[in-house]
Symmetry: C2
Subunit: 330 residues, 2 copies
């Protein structure tokens, strides 16, 4: 793992990545991919949705928690998820990969293979990027997506239901398992949660479908509380989460792992994040089959959690990732 020479230096790496990434079919509008100063994408009617996301060693992940392949997969899925949350179909991605000089071929090729598989799975070819030295591994992935009419955070209206698409709590439970339970002692449920953290899937199809039925959407990268709060702030509306519906949404596997770890299911769902589920607001009559209702939008401001006895507690913005060494989208 510490042999830098056998991967042929920068140009050798680039040639290798070029071959790997060109295996993913690019849509007709990608006119030029890896090999020049920049990638070229054709312009047509509609809107590009363009995002950048970071995955930094010892901030977003630590090596024992995932393989190089998992890291590559995760980093692309997380970036695509931001574009899916706006209802965009990904068109292409670029990745700026920073690696220590002594990084061996197995590691960086593993990362690139994970990226390429995720590119295939999301139909989002990696059409360029940058390689640079660094003291720690970091991946900065930018995705350009296309939507006829993107779905913003700011469109939620009083009377809307709040919808959850995909699973929540699993990734946070998985991370807790990675940190606290030795591999040999992990139950099947624990392994499923670890897998959810290691290999998230951006909900592209669902995001695109939401464009025609929802008023607003956001992806759940910071936990339901943080992202519902963003939705509430941007829409200048009150968002009320139903505690019982959230616990139901978390499901049996999360409940089992939470019990084993003496964690609260609600805490995992509200503050855990990294599932890359989607949160959307829309009228009840338009709720698609893949979405489940977890609350509603009201007149007023702020984020509230309603318990089965009808008691409501305010949820502050509270969760500031930067203080926890992580980060967020501008």
């Amino acid at each position: 793992m510490r042999n830098a020479v056998d991967c042929g230096g920068e140009f050798g790496r680039i040639a290798w990545l070029r071959r790997l990434f060109s295996g993913v079919a690019a849509p007709g509008r990608v006119k030029l991919a890896i090999g020049d100063d920049a990638a070229i994408v054709e312009a047509k009617g509609g809107r590009w949705v363009w995002t950048i996301d970071a995955c930094v060693q010892d901030v977003h992940f630590a090596w024992p928690w995932l393989t190089a392949y998992d890291l590559g997969w995760r980093s692309l899925q997380a970036a695509v998820s931001d574009s899916a949350a706006m209802g965009a179909k990904p068109v292409a991605a670029l990745c700026s990969m920073a690696l220590p000089a002594q990084t061996g071929a197995a590691l960086w090729r593993g990362i690139a293979r994970g990226q390429a598989s995720a590119a295939e799975a999301t139909r989002c070819p990696i059409i360029g990027g940058n390689l640079s030295g660094a003291s720690e591994v970091s991946l900065h992935t930018t995705v350009l997506g296309y939507a006829r009419k993107p779905l913003l955070r700011s469109g939620a209206r009083p009377g809307d239901e709040l919808w959850l698409i995909g699973s929540v709590g699993k990734a946070a439970a998985g991370l807790a398992v990675l940190e606290r339970v030795p591999q040999a002692k992990r139950s099947n449920a624990m392994r499923a949660c670890v897998r959810a953290w290691q290999r998230p899937n951006a909900l592209v199809k669902q995001g695109v479908r939401l464009c025609s039925c929802a008023h607003a959407a956001i992806d759940v990268s910071d936990g339901v509380a943080g992202d519902a709060r963003h939705l509430s702030d941007a829409s200048a509306a009150r968002v009320v989460l139903q505690a019982s519906l959230l616990e139901q949404a978390a499901g049996k596997i999360v409940a089992e792992v939470a019990r084993a770890l003496e964690h609260s299911v609600l805490d995992l769902v509200l503050f855990g994040g990294e599932d890359y589920a989607l949160l959307a607001a829309g009228p009840a009559r338009h709720r698609p089959a893949f979405a489940r209702c977890i609350g509603h939008v009201d007149r007023g401001r702020g984020l509230w959690l309603e318990h089965p006895d009808g008691k409501r507690v305010a949820l502050g913005s509270g969760y500031d990732h930067f203080r926890y060494h992580r980060g967020g989208t501008l």
Copy 2:
């Protein structure tokens, strides 16, 4: 510099950056900037030119060499330069900024101010990005540019002149001064070279103009030898550099500093890089006033340096930044 609390954590930083960056006018086609999951850019006829570039602490720069403002400025100009080299006018940029948790407000605001000034100077608004923790400072800047017909590396033809636009050697001389000459002992020429390294300017207007007269172009980020080699490889043509024309192009200031440091002017020009000049190939009759001829394109392969006595020496690709802890574009 070590007070992380006074800048209000992630959301405070983002709000501050949003205010700062929104001061730069966005063209009409930018439909949504900072504040949602991704930025939205309208699609029209033509081509987007899309690139990402990295600036990593202790790889691309060291703190005593530049201020936070310089770093912000440099990082945006370097990314815009890649797009200018394809004849594209920048439309917008996103930046993934990774900072140690203890980074003080003065530092990250200084970086952002430098970015905003460069955004103003290049008319390339920063419309989104990502903030994350890290153990070292790094900026990963992606630029989307627009060109009716982008200029590639691969278009050089036998019979073309090789053109240089902008200055070369100054930035490399400046870096050598930063490394070896204490501030109090620097001559005016040395200070000019240091400034060239600290505050490069992407040649956007010239790049756009080249579209109508050149067959191929590339920016000189790796030194004339490395980038002329890329042009030669991509165009499957021989590129011959004239040593005397290169020395003339370097100019008096570089010559003076090279003499003082006992450096070879040719080495600075050929292997120094980071001036963000442009290299282009085109027919002599179409050479614009801002370009100077430094060689020509021939049938054959490879990169050659011709000395005034007519002797030619082959220049190998030789300069692999990854081995020197730097990096390169995919």
